[in-house]
């Protein structure tokens, strides 16, 4: 177990290195200057700006300089939001995105598992078809259509939730649901398939034969095994939620990391892009290691049980 974690962590280092190098080079070689504005900047000012942000010198010097700063944990200054370091912006926005993301994660997981199991139990019945149709619909419409529609219906026509914003507890519910929806659908489909398989296994039959009530059979016994594919999907799920939150945060005006990422790419805010990509990648890699460990533990327990 320990060597497994260690190996994964070691493997992550070259990957992060490639990720950062690619991002840096792409952003640096692309046309568009981080400092250009609709009013022209005198060349002397531009030179000073480049010096201030360590974007002078050869590309190699800039690159190695940046890497050594990163190694020391300094993500440098944002070129767009003056006097703000990338570390500071991340510190303010990442907890927000993380909160929204983890709630969406829980919702997606919870509702997906329930819906999928339900459909599996009623295999080929109308409940199954309805649940799977809903799930298919959930992954057939982009979030940027679903979210404004949800706002219109649940915040304006029926004023149950606030239209946008962040800070109060009720402001998080609607965006989290909108963010979770497509993933809940995916999980439901996944859950249905795996539940169907498990329900045919011997130990479920034994449990039924023992005369246990159906819901106990499903939720106590079958679920434990059937959830394994969902657990291993939760790594990619976290990645998708992270990207999905870019849209949801923008539409619901949530001060998270998503909008900053998009704007920083468009503004050529080099170090902000670098910092965001790095944080995204590190978060997800760590999360995946946790998921793998969890999978391992669950899997072993099941094997021990049977």
């Amino acid at each position: 177990m320990f060597t497994f974690i260690l190996r994964r962590l070691l493997l992550a280092i070259p990957v992060l290195f490639v990720v950062i190098s690619l991002t840096f080079l792409l952003m640096r070689l692309t046309p568009g200057n981080p400092f250009s504005a609709d009013r022209a900047i005198p060349p002397a000012v531009l030179k000073k700006l480049e010096a201030k942000y360590q974007l002078n010198g050869t590309l190699w010097q800039q690159y190695t300089g940046y890497l050594s700063d990163l190694a020391r944990g300094d993500l440098r200054l944002s070129t767009k939001y003056l006097n703000r370091s990338v570390n500071e912006i991340l510190a303010q926005t990442l907890p927000v995105s993380a909160t929204l993301g983890s709630l969406a994660f829980v919702i997606a997981l919870g509702s997906g598992v329930v819906l999928g199991s339900y459909a599996a139990v009623h295999q080929n019945g109308w409940q199954d078809r309805a649940a799977m149709f809903t799930a298919l619909l959930g992954i057939s419409l982009p979030a940027f259509i679903l979210a404004p529609l949800a706002i219109l219906v649940f915040a304006i026509y029926l004023p149950i939730f606030p239209v946008a914003g962040w800070g109060d507890l009720d402001q998080i519910v609607l965006p989290a649901i909108c963010l979770a929806l497509p993933f809940a659908a995916t999980i439901a489909r996944l859950m249905r398939t795996s539940m169907l398989e498990v329900l045919r296994l011997d130990f479920v039959r034994t449990a039924r034969a023992k005369g246990l009530p159906e819901h106990v059979v499903i939720f106590r016994h079958a679920l434990k095994v059937a959830i394994l594919p969902v657990v291993s999907y939760s790594g990619p799920l976290a990645a998708s939620i992270l990207t999905g939150s870019i849209v949801v945060e923008q539409i619901f005006k949530i001060p998270g990391l998503g909008p900053f990422f998009i704007n920083s790419v468009l503004n050529r805010d080099l170090f902000m892009v670098g910092g965001t990509v790095l944080v995204y990648s590190v978060t997800l890699i760590l999360f995946n290691i946790v998921v793998d460990v969890l999978y391992f533990v669950l899997d072993r327990r099941i094997k021990l049980d049977s």
Binding site: P31, N33, S36, L82, V106, A164, I251, P255, P259, F260
Partner: protein, 525 residues
């Protein structure tokens, strides 16, 4: 399993609560300000949303009232020398938000800071009207004593200008010329603009600033007319999505939308009939640039022909729809003492004739070219209309090219385009803020346009002390610009739009500079 799930859920909820609890007072007034400000340092800011907050925090020698007119600010009165070149400002006895007195030295030092060759300010040019200001910035003069700013005593500031600059009092209210509290900059360094550190002299002080979330302003008790400031706590929300902004306003979560880019353009025809719609023309022009260094746009007749074939009326009625006026001139109307030239109006017969003269009868032989615009719905729609006008009326093959903002700016600067969409917002209430752009090699020229006669007229005009003679010369220059040489084709004058309930909010007056000081606003009961 179940216990574990319970633990997990409660942990998540705990995280939620800790992230969400916000125990703050409700603001008296909440407005939607546009994009997140890049900075609140008045010497650095360039954007309108940033400027709006800066003008609430700081006050210059002069300031604008609700009608946009210049009135005394930190200076209670001033004298101007007969040649119009020396201004003597007498400051009032007033304090910074931390209790320090506001002195003439503060102004001298703040301006020195902007003009310091090592200080990066994109707007430092606003101080080049001061004698030797430009030379100091460029390092040609190293002693600041030679620059035309001097604090005669604590409360008297003398400013010597290069030329009589009739719009100098306007400039004094502009962000770049606002005073900053130097002791706190010395103490905090770049961090001085953050809440708890920023010391201001305007109507408000900075209470809180959460990035991309909100900025909270609180009335400054030391402000010299603090008793006239009605709204004590103001929240400014940074929003960049027009639909979100409108939803918040519609649901009553915001009292005002003040940024024109935040009105959903697709809905303008609906919104403009609403009682809360407020529009006024202001000093900004939407126009097309021609790359005068590229064939066939190096021929003035071609540029004229293209400009003459644009049906501007159709653009404002079909697309912009907020009541914009079609533009003939680059300088919008409304500047006192200046009537802009008529410019080139729709005249298809003449357009075709000019094109024939230039060697392209019925557009034959005219190379295929592209309209460049930065990525936005509005720009796309206008470009599409113009594309079809030029195609249908002149027989030209026109393509569209969109680029995102930074790439687009890069393309403009490197003159790597044929025709490009642009806009220009005046910085002060004078034609010079528009006409100065097209002097040869100016950074904002971006067309490669160069005409010594135009350069001479604009430069000469600014040495004149007599306003009427000066305006006449400027008009002469602009006539060359928009009628004879046509390196640009103005399309329409912008309209400043705000959404708010007039029966609830007062102190907001339409004006050509599109500035609406927060300190003037009040709630009607």
């Amino acid at each position: 399993m179940r216990a574990r799930l319970f633990f997990l859920t409660s942990f998540c909820l705990l995280v939620l609560f800790s992230a969400c609890t916000r125990l703050v007072e409700k603001a008296d007034f909440t407005f939607i300000n546009g994009v997140e400000p890049e900075s609140l340092d008045p010497a650095i800011v360039t954007g309108q949303p940033d400027g709006r907050i800066c003008l609430a925090l700081f006050e210059g020698l002069t300031s604008r009232n609700a009608a946009g007119a210049i009135q005394p600010g930190m200076a209670e009165r001033w004298e101007i020398s007969p040649d119009g070149k020396t201004y003597t400002f007498h400051l009032r006895d007033t304090k910074w938000s931390n209790g320090d007195p506001v002195t003439a030295h503060d102004f001298e030092k703040s301006w020195e800071r902007v003009l310091n060759p090592n200080f990066v300010s994109k707007y430092a040019e606003q101080l080049y009207y001061i004698d030797r200001g430009e030379e100091y910035k460029l390092g040609k003069v190293t002693d600041f004593k030679q620059v035309g700013v001097r604090a005669l005593d604590e409360r008297t500031l003398e400013v010597r200008l290069k030329n009589p600059t009739p719009f100098f009092l306007d400039l004094c209210s502009f962000t770049t010329l606002l005073p900053v509290h130097l002791p706190s900059i010395a103490k905090w360094g770049d961090d001085w603009i953050k809440p708890g550190k920023l010391v201001s002299n305007g109507a408000y002080q900075l209470e809180d600033w959460r990035i991309d979330n909100f900025i909270r302003l609180k009335a400054n008790p030391h402000y010299w007319r603090a008793d006239t400031v009605h709204l004590k706590i103001i929240d400014a929300l940074p929003i960049s999505n027009a639909s979100t902004a409108f939803n918040l306003f519609y649901a009553g979560k915001a009292d005002m939308i003040i940024d024109k880019s935040l009105i959903p353009t697709l809905l303008l025809s609906e919104i403009r009939n609403q009682p809360y719609f407020q529009a006024n023309p202001f000093l900004a022009t939407y126009f097309y640039r021609f790359n005068t260094t590229r064939k066939p746009f190096n021929d003035a007749r071609v540029r004229q022909a293209l400009a003459l074939a644009i049906d501007k009326e159709r653009i404002v009625t079909r697309i912009t729809k907020a009541g914009e006026q079609p533009a003939g001139s680059f300088t919008p109307p409304g500047i006192p003492g200046y009537t802009p030239p008529v410019g080139l109006e729709l005249n298809l017969a003449k357009a075709r004739e000019l094109l024939t003269q230039a060697g392209f009868p019925n557009g034959k032989g005219f190379p295929k070219f592209e309209i460049l615009y930065n990525n936005s719905e509005l720009n796309k729609q206008i470009a599409t209309e113009i594309q079809s006008m030029w195609h249908d009326q002149l027989g030209l093959q026109v393509g569209l090219r969109t680029q995102e903002w930074k790439v687009y700016l890069n393309t403009l600067d490197s003159l790597d385009y044929d025709v490009a969409r642009s806009s220009w917002v005046g910085d002060y209430n004078d034609p010079n803020t528009f006409l100065d752009c097209y002097i040869t090699d100016r950074g904002n020229n971006r067309t490669g346009y160069s005409n010594p006669e135009y350069d001479r007229l604009v430069t000469e005009a600014n040495t004149l002390h007599d306003p009427a003679a000066r305006m006449a010369k400027l008009k002469q220059a602009e006539t060359i610009l928009v009628e004879r040489d046509a390196p640009i084709a103005p399309l329409y004058y912008y309209i400043g739009i705000a959404l708010f309930d007039r029966t609830k909010i007062g102190g907001f007056e339409p004006n050509v500079v599109d500035e609406h000081p927060l300190r003037e606003l009040f709630r009607r009961n």
